[in-house]
């Protein structure tokens, strides 16, 4: 068994870089698809439990603000990946740090959302339970994305990655964009829809 594993690992190492990159990308997209089902489930639960109504006490301005911040973070993440693809390391560090900063601002906004939510629709209520599960699940993904961003910045500072090998950057940035896509559906589902 162990020998087979070693052999399999050895075989993996003999893959040419392009094939390995294609396999990595496919694996990441399958992972993202599986994560999408998780978010689809909580959004479906929102409509199943609450119908298409929304409560009065929702801080629309704060939600709009943190949505804008998250969308902005996608631009800086896009530019960071692009910078590494063209070996522009100063631009990479600048844009990656900006992405991390926007993530932090988003999390501060979520903290204020949580505080207001506790006051107007605590977790014991139907809307509260849906709200806290959905926002909490998403915030957890933002947090893990921020940890990944910090790790990639640290590795890049130590000289890792370059024009021909930046899979770590690409994967982290794609994951960050996925977090943005999830919010694109969560935001209207929790704050905007009405019938």
């Amino acid at each position: 068994m162990a020998a087979a594993t070693v052999e399999a690992a050895g075989h993996h190492d003999t893959l040419d870089p392009k094939t390995r990159l294609r396999a990595n990308r496919l694996g990441l997209w399958i992972f993202i698809a599986s994560e999408s089902f998780l978010f689809a489930a909580v959004i479906a639960a929102r409509f199943y439990l609450l119908g298409v109504d929304r409560p009065e006490h929702l801080n629309q301005e704060l939600a709009l603000l943190i949505t804008a911040v998250l969308l902005l973070s996608s631009v800086s993440a896009f530019r960071a990946e692009d910078a590494m693809a063209h070996n522009d390391r100063p631009a990479f560090f600048r844009n990656m740090s900006a992405t991390l900063f926007f993530g932090l601002v988003f999390m501060v906004g979520v903290f204020f959302e949580y505080r207001e939510g506790m006051e107007f629709f605590p977790p014991q209520t139907l809307y509260g339970s849906v709200f806290f599960i959905t926002i909490g699940l998403h915030a957890f993904h933002v947090l893990t994305g921020m940890i990944a961003l910090a790790l990639v910045i640290n590795l890049a500072a130590k000289g890792h990655y370059g024009r021909d090998d930046y899979w770590g950057v690409e994967a982290t940035v794609k994951y960050w964009h996925f977090v943005d896509v999830a919010w694109v559906f969560i935001y209207p589902a929790l704050y905007l829809v009405s019938w």
């Binding site: 709009l64 969308l71 530019r79 692009d82 063209h86 964009h177 896509v181 694109v184 209207p188 009405s194």
Partner: protein, 75 residues
């Protein structure tokens, strides 16, 4: 450190434009969603296509989903 060529600079400017163009489209759609939600009722059927359009912009332009079919494509 190598000096970027004119082609690299032009390419970089093009990429930057794409980034900001996609962000602008996302921002406009988000503001339209918000204004509809706070000013109108029964907006569910408008929210669905707008959310799908926003997600498609991110998946196509920022996440480069086409790489799955065209492996050689430059980001």
């Amino acid at each position: 450190m190598t000096t970027p060529s004119q082609a690299d600079i032009a390419f970089e400017r093009g990429r930057r434009r794409i980034g900001w163009a996609v962000f602008s489209a996302l921002a406009v759609l988000t503001v339209v969603e918000y204004l509809m939600a706070v000013n109108l009722s029964k907006v569910l059927l408008w929210m669905i296509p707008m959310a799908i359009a926003k997600a498609a912009l991110i998946v196509i332009y920022f996440m480069h989903i086409r790489e799955l079919w065209h492996a050689e494509e430059e980001i």
